[in-house]
Amino acid sequence: MQRTMMDFWVGLFVMAGIGALLILGLKVGNLTDFQADKSYVLTGDFENIGGLKVRAPVKSAGVVVGRVTDIQFNTQTYDAVVTMKVDTRYQFPKDTFASILTSGLLGEQYIGLLPGGDEDMLANGEKIMKTNSAIVLEEMIGRFLFDKASKKGNSDSKI
């Protein structure tokens, strides 16, 4: 094996390896979206976040506009404090409504932002005042059953 030939192959090998890492980063991973310098931070207090996780998407009208970066528990108000990073390209009015939604029946949970009509925009570090908790399936089923049972009791007593 000639020296130059060997160098050529090794060079090709190293380039292919670095190319593979780049492909992993750009095509397979999410390196392209949400650089730290082009986003601003919003927080929101939720009564119940259900199964929301760090890195869950923040969507508005179905478009991913940011990501959840931190979830803490506030011992003063007994609320969950969710911190999210939102792309600076997307600005939201002060009275934006944040709710925790589920994609599909059993899919992952995300934060949905529903813009209001205020003319002032939310600034970096501000808190979203209007929030809506996650729907917990067990609670809903429980409420439904309770509702059913009480209705049945009412109708029985009427007869």
């Binding site: 094996m1 020296r3 060997m6 160098d7 192959w9 090794v10 090709l12 090998f13 190293v14 292919a16 390896g17 670095i18 593979a20 890492l21 492909i23 992993l24 980063g25 095509k27 397979v28 991973g29 999410n30 390196l31 996780k53 760090v54 890195r55 998407p57 991913v64 599909g104 059993l106 899919g107």
Partner: protein
């Protein structure tokens, strides 16, 4: 009876002392290799040659197995996920399992049996034919001239091979699920991209493959250098390289996974 028991205990003790002694030898040897690495970095062509033999020559087996592993993952993942009506998540499944676990681990296992065994056999045979001793006579340090370039060549090649394995695997999964079965292409890539994190998944996988590269090549060069200078000795050392490095890869993989992926996010 008491004598038999004593003999058994003695045997266990002998084995234990032997094992610890070998471990000490290996550590001492690796320190020597690291200390004498500078000359081969100054003559980088020595390392280039080893990257060629360890890395470029392993390329075909790595790429082909990556493709097939990805295809099988895609097929099996689709088979199970379609029962729950979430076959679009197959991209996530393929990418995460490859990037986090299968890419580094299988690439390292293949690397150990393809390149590690060759390294051991080469160094062992050099020792058996007294080439290493001859080098020593000519005041050429065999550790600096023979062992260190092989070690660094392997360490450089391993992460690159693992990354290529993962890419080929993702491509194989794409081929089977999107092209053959007909899962929606957009949801395949977008679900994958939304759940594979660069720092958390890809960098951790690359760190894993770096660890495996160090471990596999360290075991390979040590076994070769330590092999008894006979035909049987070399063959035994080659076998030990493959067995020990496979066990080390799988054990270390568990430890690294336990440190890296705690399921916090």
């Amino acid at each position: 009876m008491a004598r038999r028991i004593k003999a058994v205990i003695e045997l266990i003790g002998h084995r234990a002392v032997d094992g610890i002694w070998r471990l000490g030898c290996a550590t001492h040897f690796m320190l020597l290799v690291l200390l004498k690495s500078l000359p081969c970095f100054l003559r980088f062509r020595l390392i280039t040659r080893e990257i060629y033999y360890a890395g470029v020559m392993s390329l075909i087996i790595i790429l082909v197995s990556g493709l097939f592993v990805g295809m099988v993952l895609g097929l099996q993942g689709y088979e199970t996920l379609q029962k729950f009506g979430s076959e679009s998540a197959v991209g996530t499944l393929v990418a995460l399992s490859l990037v986090r676990e299968l890419g580094p681990v299988i690439a390292a296992l293949l690397f150990a049996s393809r390149a590690g065994s060759a390294m051991t056999a080469e160094i062992g045979l050099m020792k058996a034919t007294e080439q290493l001793a001859a080098m020593g006579m000519m005041a050429v340090d065999p550790i600096a001239r023979i062992v260190a370039p092989r070690f660094w060549g392997g360490v450089f090649s391993m992460p690159l091979l693992a990354a290529m394995f993962s890419v080929m695997g993702v491509f194989g999964g794409y081929l089977v699920t999107v092209v053959f079965i007909g899962v929606d292409e957009g949801s395949f890539w977008s679900q994958m991209q939304s759940s594979v994190d660069f720092r958390y998944d890809i960098v951790n996988g690359a760190i894993k493959s770096c660890f495996f590269g160090v471990v596999v090549t360290a075991i390979a060069v040590f076994e070769g250098f330590d092999a008894p200078p006979t035909a049987e000795g070399v063959s035994g050392a080659t076998t030990r390289t493959v067995v020990t490095s496979s066990l080390a890869i799988l054990g270390l993989d568990f430890v690294l996974t336990a440190f890296m992926f705690r399921g916090v996010s």
